[in-house]
C-alpha cells in the first residue's frame, strides 16, 4: 500500500468537489432542502401532537441518513465520473493497485460524509436547535456503522457498474433509497407490517436508527442492537468487497478500455 497513490486519488476527487456543481448539490443542497421541508413538517406535527421529540427524531434521521447517502454516493458516483471522463484507463495503467484504489475511494467517502455531517449538523442546530452532539460519544459508533452501510451499498453498486457499464448508472442515486423504508429512519420498526419487519431485521441501518431513537427517548445505549448491526454490516461489507473484486476481474477479462 503506497500512500502517495492513495493521496493522488483523494486529490483528484478533491479537485472535483470544487469543480462539479453536481457534487456540491449532492453534498450541500439536498440536505438543506430536506432539513427545511421535513424540519418544518416536524415542527407542525409537534405542535399538533404536543410531542417535543418529533423534530429531534426527524432532524436526526435526516442528518444521519445523509451519512449513508454520501458514503455510498462517493463510491458509486466517483466510479461513474471515471467512466464519463474516460479516466479509468489513466488510473489503471498507473501502478495503483486494486486495494489502493478501494482504500482511496473509502477514505474519500469518509471525508465527504463527515463534511456533509458537519454541514447538516450545524444547519440543524441553527434552524431547529437540534444538536447531534447531544448523542455524546455514542455518535462515534453510530456514524461508523452508517459509514460501513454506505460503503457496502456503494461497493455493490460500483461492482454492478463495472459489470454492466453505465446503462445501470441510475442505481447510484436510487438503490440506497430502497433500504430507507426498512431502515426505519423516522419511525420505529414496530410500525412496519410483519413482512417488512422481517426485512428490517437483516438491514443493519434499522438497528442504528432504532438505537438513536432509544437514546433520545430513554438515554440508554442498546449494546445488543449495536453488535447485531456491526456483525451484519461487516458481513455485507466483506460480501460487497468480494463482489467488486470479482466484477473488476470480469472487467479485466473484457478489457478496461472496452467497457467505456
Amino acid at each position: 500500500m503506497t500512500f502517495s497513490r492513495i493521496y493522488a486519488l483523494l486529490l483528484r476527487y478533491g479537485y472535483l468537489l470544487t469543480k462539479n456543481p453536481d457534487r456540491a448539490v449532492d453534498t450541500f443542497y439536498w440536505p438543506t432542502i430536506d432539513l427545511l421541508v421535513w424540519g418544518l413538517t416536524g415542527l407542525y406535527v409537534e405542535k399538533l401532537a404536543n410531542n417535543f421529540q418529533v423534530v429531534q427524531i426527524i432532524i436526526s434521521g435526516i442528518v444521519f441518513w445523509y451519512i449513508i447517502f454520501r458514503a455510498q454516493g462517493e463510491i458509486s458516483v466517483n466510479l461513474l465520473e471515471e467512466f464519463w471522463s474516460h479516466n479509468l484507463v489513466n488510473i489503471f495503467v498507473s501502478p495503483i493497485s486494486f486495494w489502493e484504489w478501494i482504500t482511496a475511494v473509502l477514505l474519500n467517502g469518509v471525508i465527504k460524509a463527515l463534511l456533509g455531517l458537519v454541514f447538516t449538523a450545524i444547519l440543524a442546530f441553527a434552524l431547529y436547535h437540534v444538536s447531534v452532539i447531544s448523542y455524546g460519544l455514542y455518535l462515534i459508533p453510530f456514524v461508523f456503522l452508517l459509514l460501513i452501510s454506505g460503503w457496502f451499498i456503494g461497493f455493490f453498486i460500483a461492482g454492478m457498474i463495472l459489470r454492466y457499464g453505465t446503462k445501470i448508472q441510475f442505481l447510484a442515486w436510487t438503490l440506497v433509497s430502497v433500504i430507507a423504508p426498512f431502515s426505519a429512519v423516522y419511525y420505529p420498526v414496530s410500525v412496519l407490517p410483519d413482512w417488512a419487519q422481517k426485512i428490517s431485521a437483516i438491514i443493519p441501518t434499522s438497528y442504528v436508527f432504532e438505537g438513536l431513537r432509544e437514546i433520545i427517548n430513554t438515554g440508554h445505549f442498546d449494546l445488543v442492537k449495536f453488535m447485531i448491526s456491526l456483525l451484519l454490516s461487516l458481513i455485507y461489507l466483506a460480501l460487497s468487497l468480494i463482489y467488486i473484486k470479482n466484477s473488476f476481474r470480469k472487467a479485466l477479462e473484457r478489457g478496461l478500455i472496452n467497457i467505456h
Binding site: R5, S85, H86, V89, S94, E253, G255, I257
Partner: protein
C-alpha cells in the same frame, strides 16, 4: 537486452464455443532503446494486445514479462516504469492541465515531483493551456497533453496508441523528434501503433504486423516494404510516345493507367524495370521525365489489409 517479452499471448472473448479470438498465440519482444511498430488493419488485435501489455486486460493464456518479471505478479513495480498515451483516451475533463498532471504525478510517486512537472510543462509548451480545463482544449492540445502525461514518470517503456493523431504537421514532427531523442538520450523503449505509415517508417526500428489476431510479419519497415515487389513507374512524354507506350504495355500485359494524355503510370516488378526501360528504348520511345516510386510500408499495409478481406 530484452526489456519486454510477450510469449504465446492469446485473448479470447465470449464463451469457449462460439467466442472470438482477438489475439491468437502471438510472441514478440522489445529491446532496450528500440522503437517497435505494432501495425495491422482495424480489428486486427492491436488494441487488445496493448491492453494486455498494460494490464488493462487479462490474457486468456500466455505470459508478459517486463525486465524479466511477470507483469501480473509485479504489476505496481513494473508500471512505475511504464506509461501509455492514446489519442483516444481522455483526462478528467473538469480538471485543469495543472491539476491533472499534479494528481497523476502522485500516482507514479515521482521523485522531485515539482521539478519534473515544470520540466514537462516546458518541454511540451503547456504554458498557455496550464490553467485551462481539459474540456476546453482542442483535439491537438489534448493529444499533446496525453503525450506529456506519458512522460511524467520518465518511463523506461512507453506504449503509444496513435500518438500524433489530430496533431498539426508541425507539432506531430516535434513529437516524433522528441520520441527519437528520448530513445537516443535515455534508451527509452517504445511500442507504437499508428495508421501513419510514413511516421512508422521514420520512427520504428522494427514492425510487428498483426492480422486476424496473428503475427504475420516481424521485420524492419524497409524489409517489409521490399516484400511488395511492384514499383510504380511514371513517364511523361508527348502524346505520340504515350500512345506507343500504351501499346507496348498492352503487348507485354503490364498493368498501367493513362492518367492524362501526356502521363502514364505502369505497375511493374522492381527487378523488371531495367528490361522495361530497355524495351521502350529499343522501340525509340522517348520520354521527357520519369519517376520510379519504390514500394513503401504503406503499400505493404494495403496489400496485407486486402488479404484480410
Amino acid at each position: 537486452m530484452i526489456i519486454l517479452e510477450a510469449r504465446n499471448l492469446t485473448k479470447r472473448f465470449g464463451p469457449p464455443v462460439g467466442g472470438f479470438t482477438a489475439v491468437d498465440n502471438i510472441s514478440f519482444s522489445l529491446q532496450e532503446g528500440e522503437i517497435l511498430g505494432l501495425l495491422g488493419p482495424n480489428g486486427a488485435g492491436k488494441t487488445t494486445t496493448l491492453q494486455m501489455l498494460l494490464g488493462l486486460a487479462t490474457a486468456t493464456s500466455g505470459s508478459i514479462k517486463y525486465f524479466g518479471k511477470e507483469l501480473w505478479e509485479n504489476r505496481s513495480e513494473i508500471l512505475e516504469q511504464v506509461n501509455f498515451s492514446s489519442a483516444y483516451t481522455r483526462l478528467p475533463w473538469l480538471l485543469t492541465v495543472r491539476e491533472n498532471l499534479n494528481f497523476i504525478s502522485y500516482l507514479y510517486k515521482i521523485p522531485n515531483r515539482r521539478e519534473r512537472i515544470n520540466r514537462i510543462k516546458e518541454i511540451f509548451q503547456l504554458n498557455e493551456i496550464w490553467n485551462k480545463e481539459i474540456m476546453h482544449l482542442s483535439a491537438g492540445q489534448m493529444t499533446r497533453l496525453n503525450i506529456a502525461k506519458s512522460f511524467i514518470n520518465s518511463p523506461k517503456i512507453l506504449l503509444l496508441d496513435e500518438p500524433t493523431a489530430s496533431l498539426d504537421p508541425e507539432v506531430a514532427s516535434f513529437i516524433r523528434d522528441f520520441l527519437a531523442n528520448e530513445r537516443k538520450q535515455f534508451q527509452v523503449s517504445i511500442i507504437i501503433t499508428s495508421h501513419n505509415m510514413s511516421e512508422v517508417e521514420e520512427l520504428c526500428d522494427r514492425v510487428v504486423f498483426i492480422n486476424r489476431g496473428k503475427i504475420i510479419a516481424d521485420d524492419t519497415p524497409e524489409n517489409l516494404a521490399r516484400t511488395v515487389e511492384i514499383s510504380r513507374v511514371t513517364l511523361f512524354a508527348d502524346e505520340g510516345h504515350i500512345q506507343a507506350l500504351e501499346n507496348y504495355c498492352k503487348k507485354k500485359k503490364l498493368v498501367f493507367a493513362k492518367d492524362t494524355a501526356r502521363h502514364i503510370t505502369v505497375d511493374i516488378k522492381d527487378k523488371e524495370i531495367p528490361k522495361f526501360l530497355r524495351g521502350i528504348t529499343q522501340l525509340k520511345i522517348e520520354y521527357d521525365d520519369i519517376s520510379i516510386e519504390r514500394p513503401s510500408l504503406e503499400d505493404y499495409f494495403l496489400l496485407k489489409a486486402k488479404d484480410k478481406k
